[in-house]
């Protein structure tokens, strides 16, 4: 296990307690800039809880989550921000954010972290295109001067809207949904809804994209398409990706780095190759919970 040279996100001793239950216990890991990082572990290990902490839906009990838009982060910059009590510093590192201090919508808007949900959360009655336009709400809101310019239909606003539609069209093409742009999102088949959710997250132009089980419920072909899409996102936009996934073939194929957690603690951390041969991981999967997954790990390694 080598330290990542220039992490986008540094999670440091993250702890989350629900009443008497310790869901995450002093978890430390890093998400490399421009990399695909997978967070894996048996059911109930606390993966989604980690996501909810990073994206601000839960207020963590303790620990630090620092995200820097441009690295590498100098130790004193981070220490200074932590001591200052502020939530973020727009000037340090092109934007340095302490996620544990920020609200969910601020994390999405300012720190530019986008996410998808395990149980897809689209706007079902709105069309596919509208879903993608809503994702660009903040920019459009500014361009519409909080609706004043929008009501009057000024040129500036029209241009901004045009640009938003173009960005949406770009991601519709990437996800193969351009033909269904004007249909209600709720009418799409399951696999297309998963892709749409990713496209919607990408329309927020994130620095970090968090995908919660993106391959769940997909058939092998859709799963392969998804793998290509995630890789394209990393390669073409430079967006860093953090994903939770149970399908080990997907994880091992696309990840640059894998973090394994169990009972809220990290048990291993490294490249896919290292993880496959890690004794702790094999024990955790074989011995504790889910024999099928363990077999998948062994097979993927073979």
């Amino acid at each position: 296990m080598q330290p990542i040279a220039d992490p986008l996100l540094t999670v440091d001793r993250l702890t989350m307690r629900f009443g008497g239950l310790l869901a995450i216990n002093a978890l430390t890991f890093e998400v490399g800039r421009g990399q695909i990082t997978a967070l894996i572990g048996p059911n109930g290990a606390g993966k989604t809880t980690v996501f909810n902490c990073i994206t601000g839906f839960y207020q963590p009990t303790g620990g630090r989550m620092a995200l820097a838009h441009r690295g590498p982060v100098q130790e004193q910059e981070l220490a200074g921000l932590t001591a200052s009590g502020r939530r973020y510093d727009r000037h340090a590192c092109g934007g340095l954010f302490l996620l544990e201090r920020m609200q969910d919508h601020e994390i999405a808007a300012k720190a530019r972290v986008a996410r998808t949900f395990q149980n897809i959360r689209l706007f079902p009655a709105m069309t596919v295109l509208e879903n993608l336009i809503v994702a660009q709400h903040r920019e459009l809101m500014k361009a519409s001067r909080f609706s004043i310019a929008g009501l009057l239909g000024t040129k500036g606003y029209r241009a901004a809207e045009e640009q938003a539609v173009e960005r949406a069209r770009h991601w519709l093409e990437k996800t193969g949904l351009v033909d269904r742009a004007d249909e209600p999102a709720g009418d799409l088949p399951y696999g297309a809804q998963r892709r749409l959710e990713i496209a919607r997250a990408m329309c927020t132009q994130p620095m970090l994209l968090c995908l919660d089980e993106p391959a769940a419920g997909l058939n092998p072909r859709e799963s392969a398409d998804l793998t290509r899409l995630i890789r394209a996102i990393r390669d073409e936009t430079g967006t860093s990706v953090l994903l939770i996934e149970h399908d080990m073939s997907v994880v091992m194929e696309i990840s640059d780095h894998v973090v394994v957690i169990e009972y809220g603690c990290k048990i291993a951390d490294g490249t896919p190759e290292e993880i496959k041969s890690d004794a702790n991981v094999i024990a955790a999967y074989l011995g504790v919970e889910d024999a099928e997954t363990a077999v998948a790990v062994v097979e993927a390694g073979a």
Partner: protein
């Protein structure tokens, strides 16, 4: 001092009625997470049912034993009101499970409007006065002064206590109560384990309505009059009681009811009669905004 004690007794009487209605709100909310907006109107309807049956009995049989008459009215009122609630759940709420977010609430509001206007249509818009229980009072000497206790108040408090014990037994000790608590925790799991969820929900409405019917009769006993619009304000106050006690909690609903009854009586006695409803409304707002889980409720954890 005896004025205060007198007011406390009045408050407890009123609070018993609110508590009985509040149980219906809290049970339904506990099991399907819905504010049964029509419950106050079911209560009002039950007061009319009690009134009419009482009148019919006295017309048919002339003067009969008052206790027997009240018991008959109570049983018939509970049964008929329960039938109403069963039908309402069946027609207006059950088809909406799994519909969009606002649908059950809108349906409940529609049902509330329908019920009050239906009773207005059937019974007319005027107040219906009837003394069921004689206004005789018992005077108890207390130090220098004395307090009075009317037969009405005794009837109300005794009935409430007996029925609450019966309810407690039903929920804690019978298979129905177990099924109810199972549905409350996880409806899908309960149905997999063989609990008839639809039947359990129906029965929850029926029990809630039966208790509202008791409250309806006691309302008639206490105020000696009823009006088609009387479902609304007591309904809101009973809902306040349920929220104050912690929605989903039975003992919370009873305690909340008694608290609301006391607050209302004391507020009217010492502060302002004109704004007596405002006190309950303010409590409702303050509790919902600042302590939505009430006194005994579980905190609501957001599921992402």
């Amino acid at each position: 001092m005896d004025y205060l004690i007198q007011q406390v007794i009045n408050g407890l009487t009123l609070g018993s009625i609110y508590g009985l209605i509040a149980i219906g709100y809290t049970m339904v909310f506990g099991i399907i997470g819905m504010v049964n907006f029509a419950h106050g109107d079911v209560f009002m309807l039950s007061a009319f049912v009690a009134l009419i049956i009482f009148l019919a009995l006295s017309q048919l049989f002339g003067t009969i034993n008052l206790a027997l008459a009240l018991l008959l009215v109570l049983v018939a009122g509970m049964a008929l009101t329960a039938l109403w609630a069963w039908t309402i759940e069946r027609v207006a709420y059950r088809p909406l499970r799994g519909s969009f977010r606002l649908a059950p609430m809108i349906s409940a509001i529609g049902m509330s409007i329908f019920l009050s206007n239906f009773v207005q249509w059937a019974q007319g818009p005027n107040n219906k006065p009837l003394e069921m229980v004689p206004t005789e009072i018992i005077t108890i000497a207390l130090g220098a002064g004395s307090i009075t206790l009317s037969w009405k108040q005794i009837t109300i408090m005794v009935t409430t206590a007996v029925l609450l014990m019966a309810l407690w037994y039903l929920v804690q000790k019978t298979p129905l109560g177990r099924a109810q608590r199972a549905c409350e925790q996880d409806r899908k799991m309960a149905s997999i384990l063989g609990v008839d969820v639809d039947r359990t929900i129906s029965l929850t409405f029926v029990i809630g309505a039966a208790l509202a019917a008791v409250a309806g009769l006691l309302w008639m006993v206490n105020y000696s009059q009823v009006n088609f619009a009387d479902g609304y304000v007591p309904g809101v106050k009973a809902f306040t009681a349920a929220v104050l006690g912690g929605i989903g909690s039975l003992q919370g609903a009873v305690l909340g009811g008694i608290l609301i009854g006391l607050i209302e009586t004391l507020w009217s006695a010492y502060f302002s009669l004109a704004y007596k409803d405002v006190a309950a409304l303010l409590i409702l707002i303050v509790v919902l905004v600042f302590m939505p889980s009430g006194l005994f409720g579980r905190p609501d954890v957001e599921k992402v």
